[in-house]
């Protein structure tokens, strides 16, 4: 037997799973879920943490369900185990329901953008889009701590609807689930939008808005954020 036989496997025994934080970013293709996961991962790496990322998207370039797993800490698998995600943040409410239902742990956080992106299944009349109230109460039955936020509206106010992912990222940061410094996240954003001052400014503002909105909801003692009044369909 050659000398390295046992070294290869034993050398990287890692500390226990308690040190792992699992976050999933859910959305629809084109909303920036994967970009958000990369910002988070770059920040974690900058703070000296271990990180694994996995992205899953359908065959289509746009319009399908997209989810990005961000696993921070000592892990080998890039994909979160079902019922073990610490937080699911969603750029689209139905995708939040879909992913949180599968992956969120009891007591985990679900942060949902309230702006729906209707699937073609709804438009052709073959499915009914659930109301925000139904989505929230379904997840609460699974012991999720649900927060809702009009990320698309806040992003538009910040200057660009596409920045809704940074609103959500701000919201995630405000929860304190991920032990990453704000400075590192902002640095990752600066790196991403280097040389594009306007986009950087819009996204920084979006991040700040999302952070304050969720901080207010959590700090205000409200377990569930304000629901939007309209019930789609």
């Amino acid at each position: 037997m050659n000398a390295n036989l046992n070294a290869g496997v034993n050398a990287d025994l890692k500390p226990p799973a308690e040190a792992v934080t699992n976050v999933i970013i859910a959305g629809v293709g084109g909303q920036g879920s994967i970009l958000t996961s990369h910002l988070l991962a770059e920040a974690a790496l900058h703070d000296g943490l271990e990180v694994k990322l996995a992205e899953t998207f359908g065959a289509a370039t746009r319009g399908g369900s997209v989810l990005a797993h961000v696993r921070i800490g000592p892990v080998w698998s890039p994909v979160t185990v079902e019922d073990e995600a610490d937080a699911v943040v969603a750029l689209e409410p139905l995708e939040g329901l879909r992913i949180a239902c599968k992956y969120l742990k009891p007591g985990g956080w679900a942060v949902l953008n309230t702006h729906p992106w209707y699937p073609v299944d709804v438009s052709v009349g073959r499915a009914r889009y659930p109301s925000m109230q139904e989505i929230v109460s379904a997840l609460e039955q699974l012991e999720a701590r649900v927060l809702t936020i009009d990320a698309t509206g806040l992003a538009l106010q910040a200057g660009d609807a596409r920045a809704s992912n940074c609103v959500i990222l701000g919201g995630l940061f405000a929860l304190g689930v991920v032990q990453i410094s704000e400075q590192s996240i902002l640095q990752a954003m600066e790196h991403r939008w280097a040389g594009r001052e306007r986009l950087l400014a819009v996204n920084r503002l979006a991040f700040e808005t999302g952070k304050q909105e969720i901080a207010a909801q959590v700090g205000g003692g409200e377990r569930v954020g304000p629901l939007s009044a309209e019930t789609p369909c």
Binding site: V51, A59, S77, V79, V81, C101, V124, A138, A161, C233
Partner: protein, 670 residues
């Protein structure tokens, strides 16, 4: 991220699996790179193309995998280090040379990266390329992490040169499309003597027929096998960790990543043996035998087919070891382990289709150790209760996609079509691979066509259930000819393909139809890009893969030069024009081609920016839902009326042309 070629040695960088593979090639001093894009492999050569000028090597997108593999092989014969990368299905396209090149071997390192897609995330099958590595008798490395992906690709070049054989590195979606931290190594720039030597080391080395002949050359390859097995034995990518119980896990590729985490999380690190296999073919026999001798039962965790499992079983049999090997071929039945071939009712320890995941791996390990898997039936019950709310999100074409116009026109043209026998024709639309294949995905919430009788009416309510056959690159145009020649008289036969697919494998099929005078309508949707895999260039783009301006290759010119008499070009954003063109093609008695040409809308919007939407739905909307049948994701239907999603709509104007009430208008631009 900084460009891969500018990274210094020893940097810690978050890399996508495919980026890590590309970095491995750069570190190995690769000289020639060629590939055809295919998810989940495309980023490998995308990255290498970006880095080629700076790092000083040649890279290209080729017309198809066959060309790219043969090109890379040609480069390796001159002594250059060459790499080709492809998705699992791409390997099928290269099979001819793939099974023959090993008889002569290569001179420069030749590395074939194949990214398989268990769970068929982006593919029409779940094939396991390691079976083909076995068929070709070529060594196959399989990484478990991004770091290992980089290191293995680098090592594969060295190995290839030492063995004088091509080496395969097998990735899977979960590795290629996930990211992890990679520590970079030094970039080698070895001095290599490039040139062509007809009799390099052996007579007529690069001519499989040349003396002494193909059989002798096959014997030469087999004579290398002891060297290959020794390379597997010595590979640092294999390792064994002993456990206190006579139970073992043999884990390969991503299976190893899941196994390590599951063993830790289940507190079994000290108890269960772990044999990490880095070379999936041929197996590192010493490592495997150590585990098979030390254990009473060994669970094999691998992505795809039972490739390592069957090799391990063979080894156990050859050495008459009493160990039980479990995985995809055996499983528990009433407290006993049984072979599925003997008792088919038993469940395999590892599911025989789909991909591994942390949950199935934990379950299989619990199965091995006899532990209980914790279950929470109440939570499961709530989840099932919630499921009806979790409606499907069927995949669609993009808002404003030119294919929406083409498919609308195709449906309209087919409504009026008569069969060759003069009766109302049953249309058969043969699909192909590209964005337009989504016309075969169906709307998941929708019931499939209930009966053959219902199928006779052309009742499709969306473009997403249009395609009647859909398999692989280039199969549509040829299958169509079989239908036409089958004797079925009431069919109206159509094939569709995109521009990149046309160049990839449709040209022989079209020429075949012309030569054999077979009646078929071929609709080529030319959007100027290989869009689905991430907008790579193709001959219709007007650019080389390296960004130089190139002559646009016009599909209508190729069709005419092949002898197609009826060739028309139509703009899919003009629905009537395209419908008329397809209608004329359907009336032809021989092969007819319609090129529906408009650039991919995503590329147009990327270049020109998204402008505020001017499309409006007026009070005239009666809620007839005709526009919904267009299948455009920017058209919504709420409270009995159509609506426009302004975040998505790009003012393509197709819906305006199809609304029977004229209720969709475009406001004047500012």
């Amino acid at each position: 991220m900084n460009e891969l070629s500018t990274l210094q040695q020893g940097e810690r960088i978050l890399m996508l699996g495919n980026e890590a593979i590309a970095r491995g090639a750069i570190e190995a001093g690769v000289q020639v790179v060629a590939a055809y894009p295919g998810t989940p492999s495309s980023e490998i050569v995308e990255e290498l193309l970006k880095n080629a000028p700076q790092a000083g090597f040649y890279a290209e997108w080729s017309i198809n995998e066959k060309v790219s593999f043969e090109l890379a092989a040609g480069a390796a014969l001159t002594g250059a280090r060459a790499l080709t990368a492809m998705k699992g299905a791409g390997l099928n396209v290269v099979m001819d040379l793939f099974l023959t090149l090993p008889y002569t071997g290569t001179r420069g390192g030749l590395v074939i990266v194949v990214a398989d897609d268990p769970d068929a995330h982006y593919s029409s099958n779940e094939q396991d390329s390691r079976l083909l590595a076995q068929a070709a008798n070529l060594p196959c490395l399989e990484p478990e992490s991004q770091q290992e992906a980089k290191d293995m690709v680098k090592e594969a070049f060295t190995l290839s040169e030492r063995l004088e054989l091509p080496v395969i590195v097998r990735s899977v979606t979960r590795l290629s499309h996930s990211s992890g931290v990679v520590r970079t190594g030094p970039v080698e720039r070895p001095e290599r003597e490039l040139g062509f030597n007809k009799h390099w080391e052996l007579p007529f080395r690069w001519n499989v027929y040349g003396p002494p002949g193909a059989v002798e050359k096959h014997a030469w390859q087999l004579s290398r096998m002891p060297l290959v097995r020794e390379a597997s034995r010595q590979s640092a990518f294999n390792a064994v960790r002993r456990g206190s119980r006579p139970l073992g896990v043999m884990a390969v590729g991503m299976g190893a990543a899941y196994a390590r985490e599951a063993l830790r999380d289940m507190g079994l690190d000290e108890q269960v043996w772990l044999c990490k296999v880095g070379m999936a073919y041929p197996l590192p026999e010493a490592h495997v035998l150590e585990v098979l001798r030390g254990c009473e039962r060994v669970l094999v965790l691998e992505e795809g087919e039972a490739v390592v499992e069957t090799q391990a079983r063979l080894l156990a049999q050859m050495h008459a070891l009493p160990v039980g090997i479990i995985g995809r071929c055996s499983g528990p039945n009433n407290g006993r382990w049984v072979e599925l071939g003997v008792e088919p009712a038993a469940e395999p320890a590892v599911q025989t289709y789909g991909e591994l995941n942390a949950r199935t791996v934990r379950k299989a390990i619990a199965c091995l150790t006899g532990a209980e898997t914790p279950a929470n039936p109440e939570r499961q019950r709530i989840k099932e209760q919630i499921q009806p709310l979790v409606i499907q999100r069927s995949s669609t074409l993009c808002a404003g996609c030119p294919h929406l116009g083409t498919y609308w026109a195709l449906r309209e043209a087919l409504k009026a079509a008569a069969s060759p026998a003069g009766k109302k024709a049953i249309p058969v639309i043969n699909g192909d691979i590209g964005c337009y294949e989504q016309a075969g995905y169906g709307v998941k919430g929708q019931e499939p066509a209930p009966s053959p009788a219902a199928r006779k009416r052309y009742h499709s309510k969306s473009p997403y259930d249009l395609l009647d056959t859909l398999y692989v690159m280039g199969s549509g145009i040829s299958m169509a000819q079989g239908q036409a020649r089958s004797g079925a008289a009431d069919l109206q036969i159509v094939a569709v393909a995109g521009d990149s697919t046309f160049f990839h494998t449709c040209m022989p099929g079209l020429l075949n139809a012309v030569w054999n005078k077979t009646r078929v309508t071929f609709c080529v949707m030319d959007n100027a890009w290989t869009a689905m895999t991430g907008h790579q260039v193709c001959p219709a783009t007007g650019l080389t893969p390296r960004g130089e301006v190139a002559e646009v290759v016009h599909i209508e010119d190729i069709a005419r030069s092949m002898g197609v008499k009826s060739v028309e070009v139509a703009n899919p954003y003009r629905v009537e024009e395209t419908t008329a063109a397809i209608r004329r093609a359907l009336e032809c008695s021989e092969a007819a081609v319609v090129v529906a040409r408009a650039e991919c809308i995503l590329q147009v919007v990327r270049r020109e920016g998204k402008k505020p939407t001017r499309t409006r739905i007026t009070e005239a909307c009666e809620g007839c839902k005709i526009c919904i049948q267009l299948g455009c994701p920017a058209i919504t239907f709420l409270d009995g009326k159509a609506g426009i999603d302004e975040l998505l709509c790009v003012d393509c104007g197709i819906c305006m042309q199809i609304c029977p009430e004229g209720a969709i208008v475009m406001e004047d631009g500012a």
